[in-house]
Amino acid sequence: MDFILSALDYLLGIPFLGWGEQIGFVYKALALLVGLLIFTAFILLGDRKVWAAVQMRRGPNVVGPFGLLQSFADLIKFGVKEAVIPAGADKVLFLLAPLITATLALAGWAVVPVDNGWAMANINIGILYLLGISSLGVYGVIIGGWASNSKYPFFGALRAAAQMVSYEVSIGLVIITVLLCVGSLNLNDIVIAQSEMGLAHALGVPWLSFLNWFWLPLFPMFVVFYISALAETNRPPFDMVEGESELVAGFMTEYSSTPYLLFMLGEYIAILLMCAMTTILFLGGWAAPIDLPPFTWIPGVIWFFIKVSLVFFMFAMAKAIVPRYRYDQLMRIGWKLFLPLSLLMVVIVAFVLQLTGWGWHGGIA
């Protein structure tokens, strides 16, 4: 059939099926997936090392030099253990939940441009797609908590439903402020706009490109986005969903071995996705911080992952030094503080852009 041939050509780039000009989609996807998983393994280790360093411990240091292979040892451990499914659980949904979490987290990376044009899918509505994917992330938690048929996971699921929906609102409004400045929903355009306009250009020092990025003019939104991202991914100090002091392990209480591994992997990849979103929206994506030779020699993809790691370091430090929030306070800052603040910023930014025409290409790119 015709469509099978064209699909094979597009996906695999197999020459004898019509010489697909681009490299096959499957190879690109595999490269991204493998790179991402290895990066996640080391990010996991980094998280534990930072946490340990703040508490003046050594952290994992047994497997491999400096404990570098710890995550891989954990992977093998989770893989070979027995998966226990509780007797009263809804078996299909119980196993579906971790799959949903992991798949959605990985799907989000399909639109992330790790270098200029290096996105699996460079779509016009990239940022909206990311918002959609992160808003679906709550389903893994809710379904997992309900299907476990046990009280602590159920409480975790109920908390997650309210928490993640609340913080999506402020994330959406933060994204709108950035979109107003750029005038495009394409992630590639958002990054390029940050290098073509901004404070450094206004001051006449265009090589200081880190002054161009949106973190400076939209600094309040940067802070709101960082805190909302913590809450959206259930990271401490907002990890009431799995708060071990009251809910054992929250929605993950009944999970073991590979399903647990998928939950954990999905959670960390979703966190990295949020870090990547912060990088793209506020920290200039793949661009070098100073537009001069020693910095521009480093390829963009390396810069991108350096920035993602830096944002993740901030996430890890928040986990290490901030005590867990109380649930009503979490709701209070979400609805009574961040929502009015980000709404106000949307109005202010829109007014300023309309009056001055400072947006990228006058905001109508």
């Binding site: 469509f3 909206l128 797609y129 808003s135 809710i142 309900w146 439903a161 999506e168 929903l185 306070q329």
Partner: protein
């Protein structure tokens, strides 16, 4: 068969099947999950039609927020399934009547669908390559249809206020937290540094 056509059949088959499962599933939580599956596949159909903005709006608003609240409510109610099933047959005639009316209305709408004479040839107009879905919507939504748009917003606001008014009740005699006074406390007012000699206590 082309690739979009193939996906059209996949999406629409799953949409119809999961819509059927919504009304036939025994467990209400499963029914809501099938509803979500139907939403996602409808978004896929929008995507195939080239309306990518609407597709993602459907995902963000309906799947990401509204259906989460559905699930939230359905998970918490304790339903007796046997009782629910026994009452099902007595409601069947009403359901049939509603279904028949809806079907008739759909037929009437589909039958009265005409293409306005001034847009008959519009299908052949060249599409502006720089124009995408989002921008095209934004250009008319806040200019030509601004009153309809604001009207819809007002309706939603009224619905929200109505829901709050219906459920809000002021109870007297309960303790409330004052966040301002909690945040306004100073260490000097609440913490005292005491040096205790060993073996004495306070």
């Amino acid at each position: 068969m082309t690739l979009p056509l193939f996906f059209f059949y996949v999406f629409s088959a799953i949409t119809v099947a999961s819509a059927f499962m919504v009304i036939s599933a025994r467990n209400p939580v499963h029914a809501v999950l099938f509803l979500i599956l139907a939403f996602v596949n409808a978004a896929g159909l929008f995507m195939l039609a080239g309306a990518e903005f609407l597709a993602l709006l459907l995902i963000v608003v309906y799947v990401g927020a509204v259906a989460v609240l559905f699930l939230f409510v359905v998970m918490m109610i304790d339903v007796d399934f046997a009782e629910l099933k026994s009452g099902l047959l007595s409601y069947a005639p009403i359901g049939m009547v509603v279904g028949a009316i809806l079907f008739l209305e759909l037929l009437l709408v589909a039958g009265s669908f005409v293409i306005a004479p001034d847009v008959v040839g519009a299908g052949g107009l060249p599409i502006d390559a720089t124009m995408d879905n989002t921008r095209a919507l934004g250009l008319v939504l806040y200019t030509r249809y601004v009153f309809l748009f604001q009207g819809a917003a007002a309706v939603l606001l009224v619905a929200m206020i109505g829901a709050i008014v219906l459920t809000l009740r002021h109870r007297t005699g309960i303790k409330r937290q004052s966040t301002a006074s909690q945040l306004g406390r100073k260490p000097s007012e609440t913490v005292r540094n005491v040096k205790v000699k060993s073996g004495q206590g306070l």
